[in-house]
Symmetry: C2
Subunit: 363 residues, 2 copies
């Protein structure tokens, strides 16, 4: 399958992480585990010549393509993509910004349901990622462990008996694992409790980042909670550390929602209902405002304040109104002004479609 | 007809001044002329005993009731009204704040279509008012002149051969006439040209006031332009002075709308469309915000940016969402919080009803 066909196919679907199902999916968007791996026979990326990078890319492709278990993967040559298409894959959480913005031979393999992606020549030779909708770290671990075994049977990993997997950045040495859970915390934001909560997470060495990872601003009240340290910990420990803290976060967010609801249901209803109204009627709207309003609507649906929309509709809008998605769906590049207009048109069309047949807008 | 029946009847209709028809009705809401008159046989109101006031009220009623030409008038004893009902008549522009807030015998006679009202014992013994929808000062003058003749045939006015009609306040001496035109100037507000325009009006002795007269804040971008001086001018001069300036104001407002439209039709469309969206979805909303948003929607309809609503619907909402109207329609008194909720419910219901059958919200 050619890269363009693959991207067209992805454009038409929603992807695992925004499917909106799975445990605790009112608050937990997705669970993700990634493993950093390097090939023993090549220098780390930073020391690679362009020739090395090509050789790594070719090696991975040639060794993995024949594997029956990986036969459904779609390979995308990231180096050969237009800037817009790379941005599209970043928005989709299938490649990192770093992979999008670097140069030289690099690629990504993606499974049809976007549960799994394998980046080649990112910071490490290999970055394996498994995504699950909702809170489901155990399943994610089971699957990524299986995939890692399949890869390890075909590729010689850089591994040190005492240190574990060797990685380009020392913070990843050991398991090479990052466990992260994306949560939606609009009520903690509204009640101004977020800083306090995040400070306690940092004390126990958990990192909190925005929707698009390191350095990205929080958008739409989405936050990623993940481990910062991998050395000296087992995979099970890391999963447990993140997995134990998420129910606490969920509990905080639920309490904050209940507080808002009990203190002033009317004001909360007003906020989510107006957000819905603006999304349906704006004629030009930025990505940032869209995320902000969709976040309110999402909480409103979960609290039963908006009854004629469903979470998957909103999740799809979160991703489809991102700049690169919008342009791919539109079929051509658009400047900011025209993107904002196109986004408003897209929102109007899909929020109307998303409404159930009863014809009401809000309860 | 009892006062309460009269008020119930008024509650169910819209009134002449917001009918939304007449010349230039996209910008000119209404034309109004009022005459201040006093009875020769009584002292001015400020010098009246309670007994005098009652006598004036009774005299006017007894002399006018038998007049065939005035037989359709509804008499309301303002002194006997609840506070809420007095406020209702103020919102309706049928009595002044001063009449509502003063004490002692006082009343108002209103015709069925609310084109004419006669206040008794306001600042002067009689305040006669005629309203026309749109810009129609000539018709208003013709009608009020006729009514004044009917009254003068039955009541002895305080009149001085050289000075003209004598009034409680020296600024009204002469014709006792105030000519005022209510205009809707949202584009001049948006383009920040209003102060400049109003300063030039003041230089030619015209007053500019908000929706509810002297001292009232501008609400919903409505302004009343009227003469400040009556002494030494003829009625025809006064009408001409105001009547000549209104077309200039209309021209300024139209130019400002065209400017907004040509500079950024999209932003203008966005503004009016969002205003519409918020009005349809708010769950609690203040009177001030409602007026502000209705003003945008009104301009949007006039500019063809909103096609599924009509001006009379919006005009009715302007008046029916005022605090006293809202409470009368609801059937009981409401505190601010509950008024804001009731207002949101009223807006939702009527904006949906107001939509044309094509089902679209905006073009």
């Amino acid at each position: 399958m050619k890269s363009n066909e693959t991207l067209n196919r992805l454009t038409g679907q929603c992807g695992e992480w925004l499917r909106g199902s799975g445990p605790e999916s009112d608050i937990v968007i997705s669970s993700r585990i990634r493993l950093a791996r390097n090939l023993a026979d090549f220098p780390f990326i930073r020391k690679c010549t362009p020739h090395d990078r090509s050789a790594i890319e070719r090696t991975v492709r040639e060794k993995l393509l024949p594997a029956k278990e990986l036969s459904q993967l779609m390979y995308v040559n990231v180096d050969g993509l237009e800037n817009l298409d790379r941005q599209f894959l970043v928005e989709r959480q299938l490649i990192s910004r770093e992979l999008a913005e670097s140069v030289g031979a690099r690629s990504v393999a993606i499974d049809e349901q976007e549960k799994f992606s394998l980046m080649v020549n990112e910071e490490d030779h290999l970055r394996i990622q498994v995504m699950k909708s909702g809170l489901d770290l155990d399943q994610a671990w089971e699957q990524i462990n299986e995939i890692d075994d399949i890869l390890e049977a075909r590729l010689r990993y850089a591994f040190h008996r005492r240190l574990g997997y060797l990685t380009a950045c020392p913070t990843n040495v050991g398991t090479g694992m990052r466990v992260s859970v994306m949560v939606h915390l609009p009520a903690l934001v509204l009640t101004r409790q977020l800083d306090r909560v995040f400070r306690s997470l940092q004390k126990i060495s958990l990192a909190v980042r925005g929707l698009y990872g390191e350095g990205s601003q929080s958008m739409g009240d989405f936050y990623q909670v993940s481990n910062q340290i991998t050395l000296g910990r087992s995979e099970i420990d890391l999963i447990k550390q993140v997995g134990d803290v998420v129910p606490v976060l969920i509990d905080y967010e639920r309490r904050a929602r209940n507080l808002l609801f009990s203190q002033s249901e009317k004001d909360l209803h007003d906020r989510v209902s107006r957000a819905y109204g603006i999304l349906c009627t704006a004629q030009t709207i930025s990505s940032e405002e869209t995320m902000h309003l969709l976040s309110s609507v999402r909480m409103g649906i979960n609290l039963g304040l908006i009854r004629d929309l469903e979470i998957p509709t909103i999740n799809q809008l979160f991703i489809h109104t991102q700049p690169a998605h919008l342009q791919r769906i539109h079929g051509s590049e658009l400047d900011t002004e025209n993107r904002n207009i196109e986004r408003a048109i897209y929102l109007q069309r899909h929020l109307r479609q998303g409404r159930q047949a009863d014809g009401s807008e809000t309860n």
